[in-house]
Symmetry: C2
Subunit: 438 residues, 2 copies
């Protein structure tokens, strides 16, 4: 006599294949048996493809997220007596917003336990950028995080293997089976990790454009709506901002070079309007339910914190708390990491019309600044600095890009990529950085 | 410098995922790299699911079939000076038509190299049934087939591993990933094997009903149309018949019991109208382009061959040619294989309305007469004999089914299955055996 009812994975696959909804216990069992190895990779990939095409309802996405979250451990920051917030970006090129938002959250009296990722493909990763500073040790355990949060209110650390292991396994499979670009699967992947942070509020920065994973405002809004909706089902206050990724954020993209840019911005060496605008806005949207001042007042407050050097001081402390060395911090600040530079100047005149931001990201990877596969080592010193934004006038001979590189062999391909990536044309509008929020 | 252009399987998966058509070289490369192991099972299952949902065009299905065919070897029967035909059934319960059609083709002056399969799931297999006769050795090579064909014009042998190996690998994967019931994939699987037979004409018997893989006339017609269309692209004359599988064909289902029934039919011990009708019709549709007589004349000719015992004699020769032993043939003929019998009689009166033919097939498997997994051994001696057809009047106490079994332990479940499978009700129409042909 059979006492155990067998889990019929083929029946579950067929259900989704035929466009029907999966039940809570089917989804939980699926993830559980997948992690145990009883549901095979080829069965899961068939299911993911069926789900990609047929879609998942919001309820199914919630159960999937929840099952992925429950597949691992969750942080317990209950020892910390304060409100914990986080910010998440869906990824782009030159995105250094976390380095402003995290100190801001702390300076405004809240806590930010930020679990961040490494770069893959054309996008950089927050952790990679911070590791430009020698000694920065992002892999710390819960006790250490609590200690740092108590002292400094904000900490940027890397994802432990114990958080949402199902997501890790699923992501690797999606990557090689053409099932990455599914809105519900993207949402489940993001939220399953963020909900392990023991936070009470989150702001999602959903990037849209040729340097983002999503290139349509409609899809970006769909993803943002879903991220917010699913997060709320976990009783977490959630908001989202849809922002532009049709050119790099700020002026630089790479690893050390982005930290350098952020430090210069914090020290008020020069203004970076898009970086400032989105950092303030994301922080405002995140905290607004707890603020007694309006948006304008809030932005003024942020400006005050910036101008007095408080953001810079807080960021520096955050880096040192995580093991970052003073000497190396100063080296990055002073650009001592730069080995070779070449200037990419315009042969024509006109206005900067378009930047193939995906190609810019891939070019950094090509130079060694990013990785094509999980686990690859990267070169923190290479990168790109733009001197023009879309809509800017360009004259013959104008400097458009400075390339910081190590290896003479890649130079030719880099130039060829820049030729393709940078498009001049008629006079055109500057890009807005924020499209909408919800 | 890269000299080889890498085959990007993820790009191929994405193409099908987005509902676009695959190109000939993509399909060939896909199958080739899959057999080599460079395309993984999880990538292929994602592609199969995308294809299941998005569909394959007739052209794509042809390329797929062709790539699967080319993955293995093909028979070369050019030595045989005559026209070679074959018949293929999509599978059902109690389907013993091949044992009539194959001798008929030979008796009518044509050749029939019939590569047949074993049973899986709820359906029996032609080879399994023939192996009820001791000594029957279906695994013979091309030379031996040619020898037998020259002598006897018809031979039923089993599929060699060298024929369409891609189909075998794909079928095993489809079986566990919920991608079996795709019309183009079913068609490609069937035709890729049949086109290896070096035939110039084929008749497809597409079964429809609760004992077949397809339970909708519309889908059956779609499959039949596709089978004919794809076969014609290989320059093979092809026709199809859509026939009923809402009850077993003839009166018996099993292995030895079906051979016994066929022999009795051939020896004119009793008439089996549905078996006769479909066997003659399939042979007519197969040969009609080569006949100088009309359908009625053809059926009379068949009757003549049957009544004179020629079909029986030809079948017997076919069995002996393949190694079948006289003594065992007679044992099967006389029912000496029967171990235990119980009679399933009606507790009610009415008319036989419905038979869950799938469940009948599964019940034979349960008794050991079929297999759930490829490679399992089966018991040739068990089976079921029906004494009523749908539409027949049933009185209380009437014999409906005789069960031939070995193992007392299964009896209870068999009875419970029969209780569920057999439905009496109001007076109803008898089932037609053939719906249409094309």
């Amino acid at each position: 006599m059979k006492l155990l009812v067998m889990f019929d994975v083929v029946e579950v696959i067929r259900t989704k294949r035929d466009g029907k909804k999966l039940k809570k216990n089917q989804i939980y069992k699926l993830i559980d048996e997948y992690l145990k190895g009883n549901v095979t990779e080829y069965q899961m990939s068939a299911l993911l493809m069926a789900g990609y095409i047929r879609g998942f309802s919001d309820e199914e996405t919630f159960y999937l997220t929840s099952a992925m979250l429950e597949s691992g451990r969750k942080f317990d920051f209950s020892e910390i007596d304060g409100i914990k917030f986080d910010k998440h970006s869906t990824g782009g090129v030159g995105d250094k917003v976390s380095f402003i938002v995290s100190p801001l959250i702390a300076l405004l009296g809240f806590y930010n336990p930020m679990m961040a990722g490494r770069g893959l493909g054309h996008t950089g990763g927050t952790i990679d950028k911070l590791e430009s500073i020698d000694g920065y040790s992002p892999q710390i355990d819960e006790k250490e995080i609590v200690k740092i949060l108590k002292k400094n209110k904000a900490a940027i650390f890397s994802q432990s293997k114990k958080i949402a292991p199902a997501d890790k396994k699923l992501y690797a499979l999606r990557d090689v089976t053409g099932t990455v670009e599914s809105i519900p699967l993207i949402a489940a992947s993001i939220v399953s990790k963020k909900m392990a942070e023991d936070i009470s509020g989150i702001i999602y920065d959903v990037k849209v454009g040729n340097g983002a994973f999503i290139n349509s405002r409609k899809k970006a809004n769909k993803l943002a709506t879903l991220l917010v909706k699913i997060s709320k089902k976990f009783n977490v206050r959630a908001h989202a901002v849809i922002s532009d990724m049709n050119q790099i954020l700020g002026y630089s993209a790479g690893n050390a070079i982005e930290i350098k840019e952020v430090i210069e911005f914090m020290k008020k060496d020069y203004d970076i309007p898009d970086l400032k605008k989105i950092s303030y806005r994301l922080t405002y949207e995140l905290l607004k339910d707890h603020l007694e001042i309006n948006k304008d007042e809030f932005f003024k407050k942020c400006d005050n914190l910036l101008n007095k050097g408080y953001i810079y001081e807080k960021f520096k402390k955050m880096v040192f708390d995580m093991g970052g060395k003073t000497k190396s911090f100063e080296d990055v600040e002073n650009g001592n990491f730069i080995k070779k530079v070449f200037e990419y100047r315009s042969k024509n005149s006109g206005y900067l019309n378009e930047v193939d931001t995906y190609l810019i990201g891939k070019t950094i990877t090509l130079m060694g600044g990013g990785r094509n596969k999980l686990g690859e080592k990267i070169n923190h010193n290479v990168g790109i600095e733009f001197f023009k934004k879309i809509g800017d006038k360009v004259d013959v001979g104008d400097l458009i890009v400075k390339v910081f590189y190590d290896n003479e062999d890649t130079k030719r391909e880099v130039v060829s990529n820049l030729n393709r990536a940078i498009v001049l044309g008629e006079k055109c509008e500057k890009k807005q950085i924020i499209y909408n929020s919800l």
